[in-house]
């Protein structure tokens, strides 16, 4: 069965390592924070100028001067630091963030990503997404494998305006965990109960299946 939003977040959280500085985008990526394994520590970077984002505040703790990139009120963890937007993107662009997780509309076999604009419909802007995809070495894109109408979002060529070119190597959808290399998708894992055939069916770009494809494990 297709993964829930929480399950996608949970699977991504398995990629976290102790001591990782992580930037989580808006939407499903934000949920990853709820599934950080108990035995490791990660620090969350919020591109509006906070490293070491804590939990949401209690009513009493709410501070209008302390928000995350999604404009939500937050708190700071011990060891947090505050900086301006140029410094924040110096970190991001300079490749200092260990893992970036963000959503997308489309990804293609060449690692291109489209995530910020649907011409004529949605033109809110790229925010920090273009800097994040250009600056990070280690990115996981989370999205549904196909649209509600069954149209694949894993394409041979992105159709929407790009957010970044050739920068995506890993995609986690509600159906599969996929690696991108040498111009092809490679199936690494499938969601529990989802068949390889279903994934092939909903993947428009070339998909390589090598050997037995394991199911994702959730403990």
């Amino acid at each position: 069965m297709a993964l829930s939003r929480d399950q996608i977040a949970q699977r991504v959280a398995q990629e976290l390592q102790d001591g990782f500085y992580v930037n989580l985008g808006i939407g499903i990526p934000t949920l990853v924070a709820n599934f950080i394994p108990k035995d490791i520590e990660v620090m969350l970077q919020s591109e509006n100028g906070l490293l070491g984002m804590g939990a949401f505040p209690t009513e009493d703790e709410v501070d209008a001067d302390l928000i995350n990139a999604g404009k939500q009120t937050v708190t700071m963890a011990a060891g947090a630091s505050i900086f301006d937007s140029a410094e924040s993107f110096a970190m991001i662009r300079g490749g200092h963030v260990d893992l970036t997780v963000l959503g997308a509309f489309e990804v293609d076999v060449n690692g291109n990503i489209a995530s910020y604009m649907i011409p004529g419909k949605l033109i809110k802007g790229m925010g920090g997404a273009m800097d994040l995809v250009a600056g990070a070495d280690n990115i996981i894109v989370t999205m549904t494998h196909a649209s509600k109408h069954g149209e694949s979002k894993l394409l041979s060529n992105c159709t929407l305006p790009l957010t970044g070119k050739g920068c995506i190597k890993k995609v986690l959808t509600d159906l599969a965990f996929i690696e991108i290399k040498a111009g092809k998708f490679h199936l690494l894992e499938r969601a529990p109960g989802v068949s390889v055939a279903e994934i092939i069916e909903l993947t428009q770009g070339e998909l390589v299946i090598e050997g037995e494809i394991p199911e994702m494990k959730f403990s």
């Binding site: 009513e59 001067d65 928000i67 404009k71 009120t73 505050i82 924040s88 809110k124 997404a129």
Partner: protein, 235 residues
Amino acid sequence: MSGFDKVVHSYEEAMAGLTDNMTIIAGGFGLCGIPENLISEIKHKGTRGLTLVSNNCGVDGFGLGLLLPDRQISKIIASYVGENAEFERQMMSGELSVELTPQGTLAEKMRAGGAGIPAFYTATGVGTPVAEGKDERQFNGRDYILEEAIVGDFAIVKAWKADRYGNLVFRKTARNFNPLAATAGKITVVEVEEIVEPGQLDPDEIHTPGIYVNRLIQSTFEKRIEQRTTRPAGE
């Protein structure tokens, strides 16, 4: 009084000299750390044809959104917009020109403007609509595009504390674009919650040295919250 005393006592004085068709750089991220009262003064003045440089454009009826109903903004350079209906209407109808700029590139353009760097290369935006018409060049085998600095006729900034000489301290994530905007205005106007005497701020803890600040005014702030998100107490 000292020639370094930047304090002014009215918003009229704070924004004196702002005229139609000028470029204004504004600090703030969403509604956090925005120069609320300086924006209200611009609305009050009725200045038109403005080019606004700001990460966002406020919401309906608050922040930079206040400048939309009277169509005071003719162009905005921002990374993320459309949190308000009037903005979208003006953008779709072509009344408002929007230059979408990646957030990090926007921050760096402001810093560069203040720092006498006319242009810099970045990988951000390569192969995207942002790269159109821009110089491209390889360094160490990777493609980069050339982005130019931004300088404003005015910069409007919100800080937490200041001394009379314009040395600024920001509070938490209300810092964001404010220190960068402060460096990039030909005239930089700052509003703060508290003004102290020179010598009362620790020189090691000043975020923006007063050399960048031309005018300073003390005020109170509504600090509207866009996404009030809480957890239950005791968790």
